[in-house]
Symmetry: C2
DNA sequence: ATGTCATATTCCTATATCGGTATATAGTGT
DNA sequence: ACACTATATACCGATATAGGAATATGACAT
């Protein structure tokens, strides 16, 4: 077996830095392919191919306008990534240290150190 | 050129579902390889290879104890992923709708609709 | 019809994978 | 030294890439 297809899911699609760049550009609003080509400094066929991958995982939508194809971001496709990685946020965020302190307090109360029980 | 190496960065390393599973298991605490083999239902060499990739991107650390290798999660390696995808959270979270409303209010005040200026 | 602009697709090559199997390395006990 | 356990590495095969170059498709203007 080989590596999973880039179109297998958002995780694989977004592993390519160029595709993340494209999404970042589209975050600024709908754009035609040539705009992306200019901004990325990449050849047009390469951009079209990256866009195809992003389309297949649902991260972008297309709309035809004359001879242009306007690509629009669909960030919802990235939610699974966010959901997964969010579980690890506590590993580096100091704000979770404070939360941990609060939880420790709660646990201590549960054990019977409070006044009501 | 071929696809970027799985060891190129956390994005590529984590594109493989099995490796995400491994990290999820390690989130429960340090574990020897055979524990992971049992829980994943995967062959031992496969697990060792996945662990190597995760080690190379810094997502796990190893510690030798006797003939066992204890693997420990290092979630910090996932921060770049979190940082990137966080920018898209507004695309699906309703909570951001409320935030947007607040920001609109602020903007309106900036424009001079408030009492002080 | 023809030419031109915007984009997509096809063909190519080199490379890196994943799983499977076999084997190597290394620590432990006898 | 020898067997046994735990893990890592090497080798194989099939597959899917990413970029490059060339070409196809499709819309628009004349």
């Amino acid at each position: 077996m080989a590596r999973a297809a880039t179109t297998a899911d958002a995780f694989n699609a977004v592993a390519e830095p160029r595709r993340r760049e494209i999404l970042d550009l589209l975050a600024g609003g709908e754009r035609p392919v040539n705009d992306l080509v200019d901004q990325l400094g990449l050849a047009q066929p390469q951009v079209s191919k990256h866009l195809r991958v992003l389309r297949e995982v649902g991260a972008v939508d297309v709309r035809a306008q004359g001879r242009q194809r306007l690509y629009r971001l669909n960030g919802r496709a990235l939610k699974p990534i966010h959901d997964w990685v969010k579980g690890y946020e506590r590993m580096w965020s100091e704000r979770f240290d404070e939360l941990d302190a609060v939880l420790d307090d709660l646990k201590r109360k549960e054990r019977g150190d409070d006044d009501d029980e």
